[in-house]
Symmetry: C2
């Protein structure tokens, strides 16, 4: 269930209730692909203020397999994380694979990137796997072409996405669970296709609505234009999730347009490659030569204890030397800054005029 | 300064005082090659009970260079670790390099493994670098051939090691510092060379004595035989350091023969490759198929919170999936067990009859 407490021009402030607790919205979901973050422990995530972890169905299906996760008592017990978990549908991953053999009306034939095994994933399979994994929020299996794909492809994708969404809901209801099922709106950059898709998905009825197929090559303006088309068509009383967007400025703008949830690997990927977020709002390239002799703290005001403790020169050294502690410090810093932005924004929303 | 509180057939119980605090002996030194452990933060090390960190002069000299460390205020401030630090001499690394060009009476000409630069390291250079790094315990630059090298090579190495030890002490005294300087006994598996070397090194006079050139290919019996030759020749009132030995059973035996200090990458290397130490004393190969479905805790009695929290099946999955959290959990577990063995042994020594 979603409680919308306030809706202002700055954004929406609410609470999303799940089987593993309430999540204050708007919120950011760190991505723990195989059930773990790179460089951070679960306790680090909790300490930095993460409210939920996103795991990838495609990766968990391949390794260790949902049977192992299910017999361990579900994803929370398997990975030792008692806060909410969202699993994606696996669609984005299989559609991104080079080794897709065939897309049919039932789903996607593809080859495992691990061992080349011939595999198949469709709406029924995806929902069954996600039920076995036991996440709190699960996603419909959708067809997601690149946002810049031609109109004919987007049209076909929207058709499949809607048919698959009905199938997902049917399977979800048959299996029964406390999981919240989210529908996904596709349609690329085609205004009318986005509208059609949004209306169809909303008419099926889901616990939340995601906007997929963005942040994959289009311009920022094109992305915002699509949000302006889709958001007004989504019900006020359900959470809205913009998939794959993680740039702080873009998330803020999207929140202003009515989005509640985000996930992205960007803060972590930038961290690993040496782009460090600071409390000041600045980003610095810590691997640049200028930081070799900069012995000041990475970020004295950081929400991350590692960012406060360690020197820029040390982080520069560790990343240059390919030391894993460098990744840990950088990830802790960037995730800390990202999650703090959300805490601040939630307070701001609470204090702002409706 | 070293205080020997007790000496029994089980081992010696003492305290080693350094500029960054006292260390209860016997003790184990985790190896943070470039000033960081793989997979663990400094706080993790403290929580697991580490009393001191070993850093490698060779690696720090190459990257970031001792000038950077010195201008940051020394190794402790640079890496953000306020407990004692020991630096090795760099000798073991340069003698292990394939790219050694020439060994002269002054030191070793070699090429950087990072960029092929022609470099030189000798006793004077090593001590100067270690002074710049600012460790609490520093090591003489020694010539360390494999323990199994022919007698002529061992003889030459002992000669150099003794001459270089004198040079190291001279440079150390000229530079002046609070660092404790340790001498190193070489001599391979040749009883008389070990005796000669031990007597010579002791007559020069150091703050502690290390036994080098072992655990590099000889049998366990050969190693113990050398300890039986060397230990009785070392002064009772100085700490004794067996370099590079990290197997728990071997460390216990060596402690029984009068050794106080150890360093080794073994617990961490075994962890990363899936060999997990348990409180029971057992070692398990967590990457083996049998653990795929084993949903019991890794080690319910573990000194590591991660070892208590997580399931064997999850660690199996993470290491199989090459996820870094797997390395972190495994390292925390193996280091936790190693350090707990020392805590238990120190209590045992305190309670044992002299």
């Amino acid at each position: 269930m979603f409680e919308l407490h306030k809706s202002t021009s700055l954004g929406r402030r609410g609470v999303l209730y799940t089987a593993h607790g309430a999540i204050q919205s708007p919120f950011f979901m760190p991505v723990g692909t195989c059930g773990a973050m790179k460089g951070l422990t679960h306790q680090d995530l909790l300490d930095l203020g993460a409210q939920i972890l996103l795991c990838n169905t495609y990766h968990l299906h391949l390794q260790p397999g949902e049977t192992v996760v299910e017999e361990a008592g579900g994803i929370h017990d398997f990975i030792g994380w008692q806060k909410p978990v969202l699993t994606d549908s696996g669609g984005f991953q299989v559609f991104s694979l080079k080794a897709i053999s065939k897309i049919t009306e039932d789903g996607v034939h593809f080859q495992s990137h691990l061992n080349g095994d011939a595999l198949f994933l469709g709406p029924e399979e995806s929902i069954k796997i996600q039920h076995a994994l036991g996440a709190d929020i699960i996603m419909c299996f959708d067809h997601c072409p690149p946002s810049t794909a031609p109109r004919a492809e987007q049209e076909a994708a929207v058709g499949r996405t809607v048919r698959w969404a009905k199938e997902c809901k049917r399977v979800h209801q048959e299996l029964g669970s406390h999981a919240l099922l989210f529908g996904i709106v596709q349609g690329g950059l085609e205004k009318d296709l986005r509208e059609t898709c949004a209306r169809e998905i909303v008419s099926i009825g889901f616990d939340g609505y995601a906007i997929g197929g963005l942040a994959v090559g289009e311009t920022e303006e094109e992305m915002y234009r699509i949000l302006d088309v889709v958001c007004p068509l989504l019900p006020e009383d359900k959470p809205r999730y913009l998939m794959g967007v993680g740039r702080i400025d873009q998330m803020k703008t999207a929140i202003g347009k009515g989005i509640d949830m985000f996930d992205c690997v960007l803060p972590m990927r930038e961290a690993r490659h040496g782009t460090i977020y600071l409390s000041s709002g600045e980003k610095i390239r810590i691997v640049n030569a200028e930081y070799r002799h900069d012995h000041s703290a990475i970020d004295p005001e950081s929400p991350s204890p590692l960012g406060r403790l360690h020197k820029k020169s040390y982080l520069h050294h560790l990343l240059r030397a390919n030391e894993r502690l460098g990744e840990t410090i950088a990830c802790s810093q960037n995730l800390g800054i990202t999650l703090e932005m959300y805490r601040n924004l939630r307070s701001e929303l609470e204090n702002s005029k409706s």
